[in-house]
């Protein structure tokens, strides 16, 4: 599984990355995590609210700082 976190440098973006890693550790789900700050790539997903959560190329959440439990819910 590949998880991309789209961010544009705001505070809640960074805490989403933190929560994603916490969710993975908590649930034991294996995934590759990448933080995407390249605007061109963010735009290519059509995302306009950061932070965005993309799993295997599919946009699952935008503009929201999800909690670890919410992230586990989305991943499974």
């Amino acid at each position: 599984m590949k998880i991309e976190i789209l961010e544009s440098g705001c505070v809640s973006c960074r805490s989403l990355e933190h929560n994603v890693r916490e969710a993975l550790a908590k649930s034991g789900i294996e995934a590759e995590v990448e933080v995407v700050e390249d605007l061109q790539r963010i735009m290519a997903y059509g995302v306009m609210r950061t932070p965005g959560l993309v799993v295997d190329g599919k946009v699952l959440s935008m503009g929201k700082n999800l909690t670890p439990d919410e992230i586990i819910g989305l991943l499974s």
Binding site: S8, M48, R49, G63
Partner: protein, 319 residues
């Protein structure tokens, strides 16, 4: 709506504590207790309602709707959407590029970018609780007018080359709508409201506290002499003073309420409040990453001019 609360407060201050309604301390304390509870209650209710409703209007939906519309329809619709959609200055860049990527004209994009922060939920909630629905409606109405006209002007100036980063050539994909049950939306809106109240609560208390002090201790003629009245520079000065105050809108607005009660003209107050929300330095700093200084200067200049014209017109009519 809050008459009953005012009776309780007045009873406490004037009967239980025995302060005289004519004394500065009594009048200041009465004002502070009454205003803080009223404002915080209304803030919670209004922010909750706005947050819940706007969960149905994500920015991506607005973008898809604006795509390919006639420019004039676009300006009006973009400004209107600015009221209801969420806006956070840290998302200003992806938002701006997303609109341009969808071939929405630059001027229409600016109509949205001007209206969204101006009509943010805190400003609307504060205005409503301090000044009532009439002034809130005037603020929103004239805010829309500024957003539409400034957007049209910027659109006419052929400034497309002033965008420093080009979005991808391919139009943005139309995202599948993420389905969220109503219960979850309500919970989310409530969580957001609490977060926001925690963030602005202290500013509100400080603002009302200083306001209460002015209310009780500072004589009206002093304010009329310096902040009010007929001086031609009152409106431009208020507009300029508003620029660095964006993050403190919740704290500054209670002060403006007291200043208007003490003689500041309503047009000057409107200009001040619009400048606080529409002209924000942090937003300009963020936009500098993707827009040339020239374009940002034109954006700020046009909006500031519009805000001042509204202030002058108001002061001329409402006297």
């Amino acid at each position: 709506m809050f008459d009953w609360w005012h009776r309780i407060v007045s009873h406490f201050v004037f009967e239980t504590l025995g302060l005289s309604p004519e004394s500065a301390a009594g009048s200041a304390l009465d004002f502070f207790l009454y205003d803080t509870v009223k404002i915080l209650t209304l803030l919670a209710v209004i922010i909750f309602l706005i947050t819940f409703v706007r969960s149905y209007f994500p920015t991506e939906k607005v973008r898809d709707w604006l795509e390919g519309k006639h420019p004039l329809v676009g300006h009006v619709a973009a400004a209107l959407f600015g009221i209801i959609t969420p806006f956070c200055s840290c998302s200003a860049i992806p938002l701006f590029l997303g609109f341009i990527q969808a071939r929405i004209p630059l001027g229409v994009t600016f109509s949205y970018l001007i209206s969204a922060p101006m009509n943010n939920e805190i400003a609307i909630a504060m205005l409503f609780s301090l000044f009532g629905w009439k002034i809130t409606a005037l603020y929103i109405g004239f805010g829309l007018l500024v957003a539409i006209v400034a957007g049209i002007i910027i659109g006419k100036l052929d400034l497309e080359d002033e965008i420093l980063i080009k979005p991808p050539e391919t139009p943005p994909p139309h995202l599948e709508e993420i389905k969220i049950p109503v219960k979850e939306r309500l919970e989310e809106a409530w969580g957001y409201t609490l977060d926001l109240l925690k963030k602005v609560g202290l500013y509100v208390l400080a603002g009302v506290g200083i306001g209460a002090f002015i209310h009780g201790y500072v004589p009206s003629d002093l304010i009329v002499r310096y902040a009010g009245g007929d001086a031609w520079y009152a409106v431009p000065l208020a507009t300029i003073l508003g620029v660095p105050m964006y993050s403190n809108a919740a704290g500054v607005m209670p002060l403006i309420e007291v200043l208007t009660q003490k003689g500041m003209l309503m047009g000057t107050a409107l200009s001040f409040m619009m400048a606080i929300t529409a002209l924000s330095l942090p937003e300009a700093m963020i936009l500098k990453k993707i827009l040339s200084t020239k374009l940002i200067a034109i954006f700020f200049g046009t909006v500031a001019l519009g805000i001042m014209i509204i202030g002058f017109i108001f002061n001329a009519i409402l006297r």
